[in-house]
Subunit: 392 residues, 3 copies
């Protein structure tokens, strides 16, 4: 059992294609929810658990991460960076951290938010010599994750990634691991075709001698698809301690719900209504008489006068014209080959997109970054980046 | 002269085709104005006049009436029901009440609102042996009603239904009658082709021995066409004693005019403006920054954020999308073969219809019940029930 | 040197075609900014400079000027009118005033706003025998005006109207002149082809013996194009002493910026937001939840509920429908043969035009007077007077 400080390796190199267009200009871990990047929520949980050293595995659009976190000083931790230039799996990512590790360590996903208590518990188990350990949580739809089979002694015996058939458990891999340095050799020796995943390595170890399961039923927030942003944002705001809420100057007769996250330097015009579960990022502008509710508004975005933006994500520096409506009902969205129905997502507007006044986004519309849409248009479905949408 | 209690027979069996689509799911007497069905205003006037027993002649969609009024206890009267399964005229309707009547009685239309004082006065005349008696009032456009000719002794000598030529009086049949039981035989013996109307019977009696005219210049509110709902609603609210107005929770900075009727359990978002002559029914929702004025909003309707609904009727459980506009100017409406011009009615939205966000209803639009209209559409004219209105 | 009172001749006969459609029903000097006609601002400056007698040279739509100013009593001056029935140049206009002048006099343009101090200074120079004198100011884009060359002794040596090539000065003719009666003969003797301009006469005098330059760097507000109305309006409001602001009744939760000019008898509904640099003329109506900002709203105009009107001019008695949007971005506008880019003018709506609800004007749209546009339309470019704009 080691008493030395434990290092946390956080995997933040991936692109997150399912979250396009939001990931065209930033890696998925840098998507803001409740006004802070997903990764910042992870870093904070790690820091709150008493971890003092973090190794960030970065790759895609890594400059966004390096610029934001620097040396970690603002979070009371030391952050070092290792670069994974091509993303060939979580195991492959962990291998890139090898040179920075000489003792037991933790691994976390940079886009899944957990409580500090889970980090502490996995940490303690590793210090007690129980590595490899992995957190196991329960979810409603386990088949979208790594479904975990365990024996009666709290040991994982198998992990099956996104099983196609029915499953008899809703316990899944929570994406928080505790390893000894021996894991690096195990990863290298894993027999795989295709991506070198941690799951493959852990399955070999589980078959051989077992993997310690750390059961967890606390906060576990995962952003797999665009619409998850709204629920994760709402969840984080809901449990917020108020620190997320700045004290921006508000116009006359502005109404704000209790459960909002407002950056301190936003501008909010008169007669604006900001409903619940809304985050409004730094330097954003909400013009007079607009209505924003259950929405994630990124920094520098402008919501025009009289616009209604609900159940929506508006990315950085995007402009929504006056009296424009983003407020559909239940949407049907296609991601890759899969059709998702009854999605509560009115629309997503990419970075730097500009939508004219009096326009309407129909339910589930996704507007690419840099799109220029005329006043008065009705936007359906997915608009590719930098397209120009004309009337008629 | 009888001192026995007098029974009121209220005719409420008709469908009211001219008020489609509002009468597709309820009989005309159950259309709400100032948050109560037309018939309830009639029942209240009758009860306030001291009548203790009401016979409701019901037919079309009668379950709506029976469920609402039950045994009349809530109104301090005894209500009995007789069924007129096919509607063959007002005389025919009165005949259905024969088995429930054994003394002098009153007859009223279930969709015309009068003062209790008129009910009392007709009642008194009947007790004085003056049956048959009928109330006579004056209107601006008498040719739409039964025009009354009378002699110098206050006796009706002739009633002409909707005369085509010019008339030299604006006195009309107000639709409140006092009869002795002998009227039943007179109705049965009336010579008619087509509908068996009370007017036909009364004309035969008037020629023979005359009908007592009870002159009346009080409140007389008739809903013949959709647009009459707005004026009748406004009139009832205007004279309201405040009892029509609940005390619903209102959002921040909500502005409500003095002359509104709000059910106590509605939801009203922030920065909403509720203008005058507006009734908002039970469990309706007015979302943030919407404007509603001179409108009849039925129970369970939802008016979306930023929508403007003016000079309009929105029926039960209908949904008006955010930033949608129902606020035209003077309309031209076609009802049957007649063209009505300069009608102040922006639009009517039927029960359970759903109109997407950013849509526009042009002046005089009538949206059938159950219609589904896309976001961003412009709706003109009449949309048949359950139609799907797509863009483009 | 004369001590006699000096008369000011103000040129107000022109039509102002570049400001169509606003000049279809009024001469350019009668276009209101900050709730008063341009010409009234000029008359006030002249009166404030101590001038007691004004001769207005009128022509196009002169009844609008005569009705507004009458005998000048309301401004503390005596106003006389001379008619220039055809407009053949500024010199030609001045000649029409000859019969009313028998001493030194000033000439001003009726649509350029200057400080009283400039009027006083030109007046003083003329009394000192320095006629002819002309005010010279500096502007950012001198090539749009009469560019002035002067010698070291403060004398104008040449004026070049709208030079095509580059210029080495930004000093221009400010349009305020001081003359002795001898100017009339000089004008008549000027050798010109085409219009008889004051510039041509002054150039001949300048070559001969020089013209006194009166340098000026105070307020100089010129309305050459439609978009200048917004900047001149904003400038006048910004420097206003509060006298421009009436105290109209405002609805609940109305927000008004500090720098607005509101006529005292306007109607403003609840939850309206009136942003900065906005003038709202007599008897105009701003309905509930509308947003008006950086706009010139002429008398009797109606801005519908929920409409957004920004960077726009709405002329007399025009009606903007509910939820209609006039709030584009930078526009490209064509005036005559010239294309102007990056113009901050969302739209201009002519007198008596009526635009339905839920409509959108795109950036730079110009709607002619008397146009009738349907609800839900999108309006681009220029719509000719009295056109009917239908959907689809």
């Amino acid at each position: 059992m080691s008493e030395d400080p434990v290092t946390a390796v956080i995997l933040a190199a991936g692109e997150g294609r399912r979250l396009q267009p939001l990931t065209n200009r930033r890696p998925k871990p840098m998507i803001p929810v409740a006004n802070r990047p997903l990764l910042e929520h992870v870093v904070e949980a790690v820091a709150a658990a008493g971890i003092e050293r973090i190794v960030l595995v970065v790759g895609y659009r890594q400059e966004r991460i390096r610029n934001h976190f620097g040396d970690g000083d603002d979070w009371g931790v030391t952050i070092e960076y290792v670069e994974q230039s091509t993303q060939l799996g979580t195991g492959h990512a962990v291998l890139h951290a090898e040179s920075a590790i000489d003792d037991d360590f933790l691994v976390l996903n940079g886009d899944r938010i957990v409580d500090p208590s889970l980090v502490s518990r996995v940490c303690d188990r590793v210090r007690d010599g129980a590595a490899p350990a992995m957190a196991v949580t329960t979810v409603e739809h386990p088949r979208e994750y790594g479904v975990v089979t365990s024996d009666g002694d709290g040991r994982v015996t198998h992990i099956e990634e996104k099983p196609e058939g029915p499953v008899d458990t809703n316990r899944i891999n929570a994406g928080v691991y505790g390893f000894s340095p021996g894991i690096f050799a195990a990863i290298r020796e894993t027999h795989v075709t295709g991506e070198l995943t941690l799951t493959a390595t852990l399955n070999e170890i589980a078959t051989d001698r077992g993997v310690t399961a750390v059961s967890y039923d606390g906060r576990w927030l995962d952003v797999s698809n665009l619409w998850d942003l709204l629920t994760v944002n709402a969840g984080l705001i809901d449990e917020g301690d108020g620190s997320q809420r700045g004290d921006p100057p508000l116009g006359d007769s502005v109404s704000t719900a209790a459960d909002v996250a407002l950056a301190g330097n936003i501008r909010v015009g008169a007669n604006v209504t900001i409903g619940g579960s809304t985050a409004i990022g730094s330097n954003a502008t909400i013009e007079a008489n607009a209505v924003v509710e259950n929405a994630v508004i990124f920094p520098d975005a402008v919501i025009g006068a009289g616009a209604v933006v609900r159940d929506a994500v508006v990315a950085g520096n995007a402009r929504i014209g006056p009296n424009t409506t983003i407020a559909g009902g239940a949407a049907e969205m296609i991601v890759g080959d899969a059709v998702h129905r009854d999605i509560e997502l009115s629309g997503v507007v990419g970075d730097n997109a500009s939508i004219g006044g009096g326009a309407t986004l129909t339910e589930g519309a996704v507007v690419g970054d840099g799109v220029q849409a005329d006043a008065g248009v009705v936007i359906d479905g997915r608009i590719t980046a930098d397209a120009v949408v004309r009337r008629g």
